[in-house]
Amino acid sequence: MPKRFFVGSRKGLFPVERTATGWSIGQPSFLGDPVSIVLPDRRDGTLYAALPLGHFGVKLRRSADGGQTWDECSVPQYARVPDAETAGLTAEGEAGQSPAGPSLEEIWALEGGGSDRPGQLWCGTIPGGLFHSEDCGDSWRLVESLWDMPQRDNWFGGGKDHPGIHSVCVDPRNSDHVTVGVSCGGIWQTQDAGRSWALRADGMRAAYMPPDRAFDPTIQDPHLIVQCRDEPDQFWVQHHNGIFRSDDNCASWTECDQATPSGFGFAVAVHPQDSRRAWFVPAVKDECRVPVDGRLVVTTTADGGETFRSLSAGLPDEPAWDIVFRHALAIDDSGECLVMGSSTGGLWVSEDAGESWACLSSHLPQIYCVRFE
């Protein structure tokens, strides 16, 4: 059983520890500041937290003592566009004018670069750049091979003003193999540590596009991608238009359309040992984004998406309007313990693979992400 997880919220980062009497929410770091992503890096024990400060830009903080003290890392930075290319343009977002060039808007994914590469990090951002660090975040390099792909012209924002990379899956068999998800820009995969990329979204369907472009892989909106740790050719995606599964390392995708009460959602978790088992948190698509009929449930499959069950024991009996964002559902190494946090500050833990849930709080700030240590 895990001993600790972290909750990144609209108003700070909360540690949650398992004590002899149960789970206990600790004192927050960064009280008052948003925390979009947290990464407890098991390779060296470093804890990272990304803070999209509303006024002063995105910051990345790092702790070597489990969150007791923090220092500031560098953040990914986009190169300045030469003045000649920006003549007549105003500052970023001002008065609705075009931005003069890209600026970091959010750190939307942060992952270790593989168990054999301590200190290496991948960082997915809005407005769509993937960055790599080889020094624990002291410096960052834009992965230009992906940024320069001509298909990036087709990308667009999904729920955000600009496209973003929210998922980075490093293959446990080979750290050179990395899969990233883009909202909205499909799924991209490298086999050579980012030197070259292939688009891997065949089979996905986008109902938000004109019919002739519904299966265009360059505009798909995977909300989150997860890779099974012990069966790494097996992936799940909670997509804007449903649940998709790949059993061939993303070469092809199959829609699993039997999920009830809905196939729409943001989060997905896969069992680390058994790729047939996965969990989702359904909602009404897509302009509404509330639980179906006001009932917060978790959907699970144990047979690779052939059938699904709704799990609700311990979740609210009364009408609930909680949404679980894409990074706010997590599973531990055993596959038995899950945690999820909601848009209205609800936090639940299950220690029996989702069959029953315990509410740890209904009054936290809006929750953006949860992650086991």
């Binding site: 002063f56 830009g57 920006t86 500052a91 970023e92 931005p99 003069a100 890209p102 970091l104």
Partner: protein, 89 residues
């Protein structure tokens, strides 16, 4: 020498005491401060060097005009305030 002061809200994140610098424009003013406090740049300017959307800058009580290149002139006795905008919270 123009004097530049920063919102106390920034002190939650880093030290940025009031400074006196030699400068003829707002851009030169900020650059002079950043030279001694490099981390501060990313709190005030975006990646393209423009003033962040939700940072408000005043020169002698007037909001800055050129938020992209900060070409607004400053005088030897100018007061520059870098504030947290009420938007963006």
């Amino acid at each position: 020498m123009p004097r530049v002061s920063f919102t106390p809200n920034l002190n939650r994140h880093l030290d940025c005491p009031t400074a006196h610098v030699v400068a003829a424009t707002l851009g030169e003013t900020l650059e002079a401060v950043f030279a001694g406090n490099p981390r501060l740049r990313g709190y005030v300017l975006d990646d393209q060097g423009a003033i962040r959307r939700h940072v408000a800058v005043f020169v002698d009580n007037k909001p800055v005009v050129d938020r992209v290149n900060q070409s607004d002139p400053v005088r030897a006795d100018s007061e520059v305030f870098v504030m947290q905008a009420l938007s963006g919270g």
